[in-house]
Symmetry: C2
Subunit: 548 residues, 2 copies
C-alpha cells in the first residue's frame, strides 16, 4: 500500500461527472448576453438558451420523461434541435435525433426500437412523421415544432410546451459519466439501422477535442451546414457552446443562404460533407458573396478531391479533412497539417490532405491492423489492413444488439470496417471500404483512386466506381458519372483522361452517364451501382478488354 492510497478519495469538491451539460452552465454564466443561437432574424442569448432548456427539461419531465428514457427528434438544423441536446441529457434522458431524409418506415422502426417516450417533430416533416406514427401500436405523444406565426396543428406546439415548463428546473449532470446521452441510428447498407449509443463522458471529451482541433474560441461563429442528426453534428452541438461561440442555424443547405450567413454573421467555422463544398464551388454567381474572413471548413465522409480543395481556398475557405463514424462521436482522425509542409506545391498539398490522417486529439489509438490477427501493419504506405480505434470517444455499443456490439469490439478494438494503409509518417490513408475494392486480374484497385482521377476531369461533377463482373479479369472498374450542367463529353474521352492519370489497369472500361442513386444521408449507393453493373454485364456478355 502506497502513501497515496490513504485518505485521498473522491468527493463532491474534486470529482464531477464529465457531461457537456456543464458547457451550457458555464456559457450562460460567462457570456449571458452573447448570441448563443442565430436563426434568420431570431437571436437567442446564452442566458435565454439556458432558461429555454430548463423549461424544456421541466416540460418533458412533466410529460413523464425520466432517466434512461428516449426522446426522439425529427428536425433540421434549427434552434430547437440545439435545445434538445441540452434539455434531454439534463434530465438523464437520451436524445435520439432522426435523419430527416428517412422514409416513414425507417422513422417508424427507430421510434419503436428506441422506445421513444416523446417525439419532437418539425412541421416540415409532419407527413413522414404522421405516417410513421400511424403504423405504431402505442405512438409517443408529439410536440409540434412550427415556424412562428404558423396556424396551430393538432399536436402540442413546442413553444406552448416550453412555456408550461419551469424556467428554474435544474439541468442535472448524470450520476455517472458512463451514462447514455444520445442514440444515433446509422443507415446501414443492409437490413435495419443500428442504434449507436453515446455517453456523457465521450461527448464531453470529443467536444473538447473538436474545440481544440478546430481552434474554437469565444469569437467563433459556427454555421450549421452539417446536419445535427449526423452524430449530434459530430459533437459540435456541444463544442461550440464549450468555446462560448455562436451557433448559426440554417434550415436548408443551399448556396445562397450559406453565403449570406457567412457574410452577414461573420461565420468563422463550418463543417460538411464534400458535397457541401462542391455546392459552394458551383454556386451561381448571384448566390455568392465576398467576405473578408477566412472560414475554416472541416469535411469528412469522403476525401476532398484536390480540385475541391483548391476551389474552396480560392473562395476564402481553409479546408480540414476529418474522418470518423457515428460510432466514434464523429471525428476520429484528422489530417493534421504539418507546419514544415507550408512551402509544398498546391497539388502535393491536396494529395497530402486527401489522407485521413492521424488520431484526433484525445483519441487514444488509431491503428491499421490485420482484421483477423489484429497485428499492426507496417508503416510502409502499401500494406492494407483495417483501421481500428481505441478511445473514450468510442460508443457504448449498439442498442439491443449485443452480437453487433461484440463483433465491433472484438479483441478490445473498435473495427471501423475501412481498409487503410499506414504511411511512413504515421498518416493513415483509407483505400476503400472492405467491399469497395475491385480485384482485377489479381490486382487490387481502389475505387477511391479511380474516382479521384475522374473528379479531376473538368466536365465531371460526381463520380462513383464499382466492380463490374468480367469474364477475363474477374472484375473490372465501371464508372458512373454525373456531368456538370453545362458540360459534355464521351465515355472514350473519360477513359482516355484516366489513362493519363493512373495506371491503365485501374482505368474504367465502362462509363455510364446520369444521376447517381443516393442514401438518405447523401451517400452514393454503391450496392445499387454494383447491381446495375452486374445487370449490364449479364446482358452484354463478356466484352473484349482494352489493351493495358
Amino acid at each position: 500500500m502506497s502513501i497515496y492510497d490513504q485518505d485521498l478519495g473522491r468527493g463532491p469538491a474534486n470529482h464531477v461527472p464529465l457531461s457537456p451539460v456543464s458547457f451550457l452552465h458555464r456559457a450562460a454564466r460567462v457570456f449571458p448576453d452573447r448570441a448563443a443561437i442565430v436563426h434568420g432574424k431570431r437571436r437567442i442569448t446564452y442566458a435565454e438558451m439556458l432558461t429555454r432548456c430548463r423549461r424544456l427539461a421541466s416540460a418533458l419531465a412533466r410529460a413523464g420523461v425520466g432517466k434512461g428514457d428516449t426522446v426522439a427528434i425529427l428536425a433540421p438544423n434549427i434552434p430547437e434541435m440545439l435545445e434538445a441536446h441540452y434539455a434531454v441529457p439534463g434530465l438523464g434522458a437520451v436524445l435520439c435525433p432522426i435523419n430527416t431524409r428517412l422514409d416513414a418506415a425507417a422513422i417508424g422502426f427507430i421510434l419503436r426500437h428506441s422506445e421513444a417516450r416523446v417525439f419532437l417533430l418539425d412541421r416540415e416533416y409532419a407527413a413522414a412523421g404522421a405516417a410513421a406514427l400511424a403504423g405504431m401500436d402505442a405512438p409517443p405523444p408529439v410536440i409540434d415544432i412550427a415556424a412562428p406565426d404558423t396556424p396551430a396543428g393538432e399536436a402540442t406546439d413546442y413553444e406552448t410546451f416550453l412555456r408550461g415548463g419551469d424556467p428554474d428546473h435544474p439541468l442535472r449532470l448524470p450520476d455517472d459519466e458512463w451514462q447514455a446521452i444520445t442514440l444515433n441510428y446509422t443507415s446501414g447498407t443492409t437490413g435495419n439501422p443500428k442504434g449507436v449509443v453515446l455517453h456523457h463522458r465521450g461527448a464531453y471529451l470529443n467536444a473538447a477535442a473538436n474545440a481544440l482541433a478546430f481552434g474554437l474560441s469565444p469569437r467563433s461563429v459556427y454555421l450549421w451546414t452539417l446536419p445535427m442528426f449526423h452524430c449530434d453534428g459530430w459533437t459540435y452541438t456541444w463544442a461550440v457552446t464549450l468555446a462560448g461561440g455562436t451557433h448559426v442555424c440554417l434550415r436548408r443547405v443551399e448556396p445562397a443562404p450559406i453565403f449570406a450567413a457567412i457574410a452577414a454573421e461573420g461565420v468563422t467555422h463550418m463543417c460538411g460533407a464534400p458535397v457541401v463544398l462542391t455546392l459552394l464551388i458551383h454556386a451561381p454567381a448571384e448566390a455568392r458573396r465576398v467576405f473578408p474572413q477566412t472560414v475554416r471548413i472541416a469535411t469528412g465522409g469522403a476525401a476532398p478531391p484536390s480540385a475541391v480543395i483548391a476551389g474552396m481556398e480560392a473562395m476564402g475557405f481553409a479546408v480540414t479533412h476529418l474522418y470518423g463514424l457515428t460510432e466514434c462521436y464523429g471525428p476520429a482522425t484528422i489530417c493534421e497539417w504539418q507546419p514544415a509542409l507550408d512551402a509544398m506545391a498546391p497539388a502535393d498539398k491536396a494529395g497530402f490532405m486527401a489522407r485521413q490522417g492521424v488520431g484526433h486529439p484525445l483519441l487514444e489509438e488509431a491503428s491499421v491492423r490485420d482484421p483477423d490477427t489484429l497485428a499492426e501493419m507496417p508503416a510502409d504506405g502499401t500494406t492494407m489492413g483495417e483501421l481500428m480505434l481505441r478511445s473514450n470517444t468510442v460508443m457504448m455499443g449498439y442498442l439491443k444488439n449485443p452480437e453487433a456490439t461484440a463483433a465491433a469490439f472484438r479483441g478490445g478494438l473498435f473495427h471501423t470496417g475501412d481498409l487503410a494503409v499506414l504511411h511512413p509518417d504515421n498518416y493513415i490513408e483509407i483505400k476503400d471500404r472492405a467491399k469497395d475494392i475491385i480485384i482485377s486480374g489479381g490486382e487490387n484497385i481502389s475505387s477511391l483512386e479511380v474516382e479521384e482521377a475522374l473528379y479531376r476531369h473538368q466536365a465531371v461533377m460526381e463520380a462513383a466506381v464499382v466492380a463490374r463482373p468480367d469474364a477475363r479479369w474477374g472484375e473490372t472498374p465501371q464508372a458512373f458519372v454525373t456531368l456538370r450542367p453545362d458540360a459534355s463529353t464521351t465515355a472514350d474521352e473519360i477513359i482516355a483522361w484516366c489513362r493519363g492519370q493512373i495506371a491503365h489497369y485501374k482505368c474504367p472500361r465502362f462509363v455510364t452517364f446520369g444521376p447517381l442513386p443516393k442514401t438518405s444521408t447523401g451517400k452514393i449507393q454503391k450496392f445499387e451501382l454494383r447491381a446495375r453493373a452486374r445487370a449490364e454485364a449479364d446482358q452484354n456478355g463478356s466484352v473484349q478488354p482494352s489493351r493495358l
Copy 2:
C-alpha cells in the same frame, strides 16, 4: 431498468484512463520530427523525447521505483524537468518537483515527508541538496543533472542513468485515472509545507483546458518563464505537448535570454508572475529585441497593474489574467475577455482585466460563498465571501494530512481562503485573503514562518508579518515588531537575522517598530496592519492580490 442499462458496459475499446502520458504518445506519432524541447543549442524532437522518457522510466524502474513511489526533482526549467513529467507518471509513480528557492531544511522536510525513492538533483542546487540529504537517516539515491561537458560528480550522472534505460520501455497509463501523478508542496499558514496530491484525470483535463483557453496549436512555441516546480508549470508541462507545440526551456528568468528566445524561436505563448512582466518592461535597451509576432502571456499571482498591461501591449504582448492555486492544478479562473468590450478605453480595460474573472474552461464551479453557511453571495460587486471551487481539477487532498484535507473540502467545496466579491456580470474579484499568505514574485510565503523567525530574535517581543503591495513583486513581506522593553535593534539587523533563518525571498523588506493593534481578546489585528502597509505603499500604486 432502462434499455440503456443492458449490454453497454465499458471495455478496452471504449474506456481508457485519462492521463497526460497519452499526449506524449500522440505527439511522438503525429509530430515525430518537430522540436519538442529547445534549450539553448539543444534540440529534442518528439520522437527523441519519447525515447528519452522511456529510458528514464526504465532506469527508474531498475532503481526500484514502482507504482505509488515518489521521485523528487530539484531543477530549474530544463529538458530533464519535462522528461520527468512523463517518465515518472508513465511508471505509475509520483513526481515531486521541489521549489529551487527553498533552503536545505525545507528541502529535507519534503524529501522525508514524500518518502522520495530517488532524487533528481540539478548541479546548480547541489549544495542545498547535499545539505538536505545530510540531515536524513536514509537519504534517497541522487541522480546528478549536470550541464554537458561538466566534470563528473559523485552521484550518477543523469545522461549515464538514461543510457542504462531501455528505449522501448513502455510508458503506461494508470490502472485508474484517479491515481496520483504529482506531489507539489505549498507554503501553508503553519510552519511546514503541505503536500498537494494531484491525479492523472485532473492533470489531463486542466492541460486540455489550458490548451483551449490559451489557443495552443501545433504552431505554438511556449517559453518556460513560469517555474515548472509551480504546480507542474500550471499543467503547461502537458498542455503544450497535447497541442504538439514546442517547449522552449530557460534556466534563468532574465530579460536578455527571454527576449533572445522570443526573437530566435518565434515564441507565441508564455506565462509568469507579474514580476516577469515588470522585468521585461524595465529591461535595459541592450537586452531588448524586436519581434514580429504577438506573444500571448498569461499572468497570475497578482492582478497586473494597468501600466504593466499597457507597457506589455506596447512591446507586442497580449496579457491574460489567471488566478489559481496549487490545489487546483494552477489556473482556476480566467479573466475571460468579452468581445463586446473591444472598444473599451485602455484604462477601463485594465480595470476589467484586474479581476480574477470566471471559471476556467472545464472547471465546474467557482463561487463566492459565506465561509460558514456556504450560502452563495449576491452578485452585487460589494458583498464579500470566500471563493470556493468544485471541479475535477481540484486536488485529491494533502498527503498524510486528513485533517487539512477535510478542512479544505468542508461542505463539498474547496475553500481557497481568498475573500472575493461577485460582480453583476458574474466576474469574481478577490479583495483580501483569509489565510496569512504573502505572494511575492509568484511565491507563497507563510507569514507565520516569517513571524517564527522574528520571534527567535532575542530583542523581539511581538511580531506580525503582512503583505505590503509592491510594484515589482506584487507583494512583499512587511514586519511589524514590538521590542522587549530593554532591547534595541535596527531594521537592517532584523532583516539580516531573518536571512540566517529562512530563504531570502521570505525575509521582510520593511520593518516597522512599535506597539501592535489588538482586539479586546488580545488578538493582533492583521487587517489593521495590512491597511497600514497599503497606506505606506500607496505612493507606488496598490496592487490587488491573486494567487498563482
